[in-house]
Symmetry: C3
Subunit: 372 residues, 3 copies
């Protein structure tokens, strides 16, 4: 069978498939002219450049291993050994810890160039751990214990530990897919207590400037809660999330709770096309009439409001109200082109302009994407 790349398998239960992706971004970030920063204006970059493999081993075992070299250094993404037995699945290794609907959705299938602001701001990332998943009918439960990210674990002092859980209810009524979910997270920094910061780029990754940023402060523990909801019906989808993160500080200091969330809606102009959905995540768009079949591919437009508040309990990281629109053309399976516009209003921004710390930033971005 072919899934972007060939999946080679045997009747006895072995399988093997190479996998990878390339995402190229170019864009402009227009901030108030009084902010002097060569990292603003026009930029381009390789957003993701991944190569990996996945396979199955008779008896229910499997593996997935992928690396990203987009910054000309190796970063391991998924690297897991799995075991499936009926409705239960166990995973050991580096993988996502069930943080949010959009974070768990592959970057190949999201609606905008970047995920909602809170997903990076709250430090969601893959971590090494052991997890279990149980899926029965319309119900999915996931939970695990995690240490740190590959990169952090190269230090022998990294012994932070966390617990993460998520439940999803995903019934189908007629052709309409519903998604309702919630997640909880707890993480103790242990010996790595210390400087943490919560921050986010302005809806594009080409710049390293963060207009919203708490700066460093000492955090000993993180507790967070998330709610997820979505509905997919034919060419239309609506989705939204809300997430609260409490950062516990040492020595009786007040503990800030930050909040982020978004609401988005999307529509396909091309007949018969719709967003994919599978097991609690958005999935691949497969054009009804691809360019290779004489069609025009799939064309989708999306709008989103993306909110993030990083100011609380004496920490002033700023607040973001972002209004976004995107246009996505999928000419063929596994190929995608995106245009993305964001108008972002910052209050108490971490970067000062001549007019103060309340201003707007406009961001235009484009992406070419291929995966296999």
């Amino acid at each position: 069978t072919w899934k972007g790349a060939p999946q080679i398998s045997t009747s006895s239960g072995w399988s093997f498939k190479p996998r990878g992706r390339l995402q190229y971004d170019a864009g402009t970030v227009n901030a108030p002219g009084s902010i002097v920063d060569n990292g603003l204006g026009f930029q381009s970059e390789i957003r993701r450049a991944r190569l990996g493999v996945q396979g199955d081993i008779p008896g229910g075992f499997g593996y997935k291993f992928e690396v990203d070299v987009a910054d000309n250094e190796v970063v391991v993404t998924d690297a897991v050994l799995t075991y499936k037995d009926g409705a239960a699945k166990f995973t050991v290794g580096q993988h996502n810890n069930f943080q949010s609907f959009e974070e768990l959705t592959s970057s190949l299938h999201i609606s905008f160039l970047e995920r909602a602001a809170f997903t990076d701001a709250f430090g969601f990332q893959r971590r090494v751990g052991v997890s279990g998943e149980y899926k029965s009918g319309d119900f999915l439960a996931q939970g695990g214990v995690f240490t740190s990210n590959f990169d952090d674990l190269s230090s022998d002092e990294a012994n932070a530990i966390g617990l993460d859980g998520r439940v999803v209810f995903m019934p189908k009524t007629g052709d309409t897919q519903w998604h309702l979910g919630g997640s909880v997270h707890w993480r103790d920094m242990n010996d790595q207590s210390g400087a943490m910061r919560y921050r986010q780029r302005p809806a594009i990754h080409t710049t390293d400037t963060r207009f919203i940023n708490t700066g460093n402060f000492t955090v000993t523990r993180e507790t967070s809660y998330g709610l997820e909801a979505a509905v997919l019906s034919g060419p239309l989808h609506v989705a939204g999330e809300a997430h609260w993160l409490k950062a516990t500080r040492p020595g009786g200091l007040a503990n800030p709770t930050f909040f982020g969330g978004y609401v988005e809606a999307g529509y396909f102009f091309t007949k018969g096309d719709s967003r994919g959905y599978k097991s609690g995540k958005f999935d691949r768009v497969k054009p009804n009439a691809a360019v290779g079949d004489g069609g025009a591919g799939a064309l989708q437009a999306n709008v989103r409001f993306d909110y993030l508040d990083l100011s609380d309990a004496g920490i002033i990281g700023g607040t973001q109200n972002a209004y976004q629109a995107s246009l996505i053309w999928t000419p063929a399976d596994y190929v995608r082109f995106m245009l993305n516009y964001s108008h972002i209003e910052y209050d108490n921004a971490a970067v000062s302009a001549a007019s103060g710390n309340n201003y707007t930033v406009d961001v235009f971005g484009a992406r070419a994407q291929v995966d296999f």
Copy 2:
């Protein structure tokens, strides 16, 4: 054919196979409480994360190329061009330089989480070079000339050069496989003479603390000798090695000779299982009744005494007497889980405790492993 991953071949002599491995470790290192070190206690890490390829080219040529990204940076392991003609085989590129039975045995097939202490302490590693191998019946001879490791060669001042040789006699009497071997090594540091140190972790790789460590001293030349012996009979195996390394110092300083060695024995509780052996190395365990076939996989227990003495001729690096036990479960081909316990007695340890430099350290470790 399938060897963890598909091996694609043609009747004209071409072949190609992807390859790789993942090893996840977690463990605790319990040293005297007076030693303050965040690198002790509980830790987890990705021990190895490798991806590579191997292939054959008509006319006797072949290649193997694998990289490890376990520390979120790329380290090249094997990267060779080979030529085979009958009993002779020639290799150019980075490969192991015939140092020790256990060092040459793949990390996928060793009996404990880590190899015997002397193998790292004496600096065994893959190096770039040219070697030849001749195998006839029960006899194997290997020899080569090597420069330095990939990593060191990125400096244009690296011009150390070494000669390495090994002979193995490996007769079979009935179902019993015997292994007797010896190796010699010589290496001139040339322009890279200078700070060398000999040291070793406490039987687990998650910590970077070395209780046994000579510290830096100037070495101009290394000469070493090794002896190897093993016997495999049904579910049982016994193996041992001894290795002497002389570090030559400049200007008439006394030259220390360090010594390390181990004796181990192992037994399979599951019927019909035994350790693999092939061409002078331990090989893969293939469970007689894998989980996918309705069996329980292969279960093996091992014990080992692992000695290392890094104190001689005025250099005081410490002495280690380690008593180790391991339990290995191989539920299916290419999947393995390990538990490992070590009780280590240090004399003249390089790290001082309140009670002095003679103390014991207890180490518990676990590993999940998959390869293809």
Copy 3:
């Protein structure tokens, strides 16, 4: 089909192929004894160690993605998404920007260990951009707009931009292949104006010493022109190039124009062998009688004069007159061994010897190469 590695394809237009290469170099650089530099003398290194994939997607889309780990760090080489429609081809991603015949020819197929001196000295490298190519009969036109290299783009301040174009006329008269080409290049450094230097190693990559080197000076813009010519007829080939690069300096400083070029000729001693040529580049040598077929492979000798002048308008980088010879044995498809000798005369060299800055350097090098 098999092209070093298997190319797996479907009748519907999907294809996938792994790819890679290994090149091991050893050599000696003999400079005047009065130059004290541990980076001279004998050295060895991994010149290139690459692993990648390429594939086709129905509808005319395709991709290629390859990384090099030769210095034990990841460097992305080609990473592109392509679209073909008849005679036109469009490419987005990191790829070569049409600088020179020899630069565009794969390192697998060049006549000497290293390309002509001007190709590195003038900073030719792959860059991220968008390009188009049109090929009709004997005529090829290429052009694109490029930002920077993967590595440079990891800084968000990188916003240099360039335009590159090349035309090739490549008629065939009888069995004789002709190649005539020209290229133009323009690049504005934008915010990255600043320290640039033009320099080159002495015909081998194992050393990091550059005897010819302008040192750093501020450059705001580069403009360059190249001419290319070649003829291939049976066992014989002759090729040559000339390239002029003007570095524009700020504030009315004089703008130097550097010049480099080479003429080479090669001959195959083995019957029926010849150099490959395809679409404006040299291509693979496929031995007429490979070792695996009972033959001796292909044996080729080459000579070259390689000139580079990095002194102009007050910048004194030195001048090189290099006389080179190489012997290339291709025992089988995808395997190659090379010997290379260079006698290099430097005037106004950047490294001072006791006798001054005019002297000669002799370089001997060898390479083992395999690709797939």
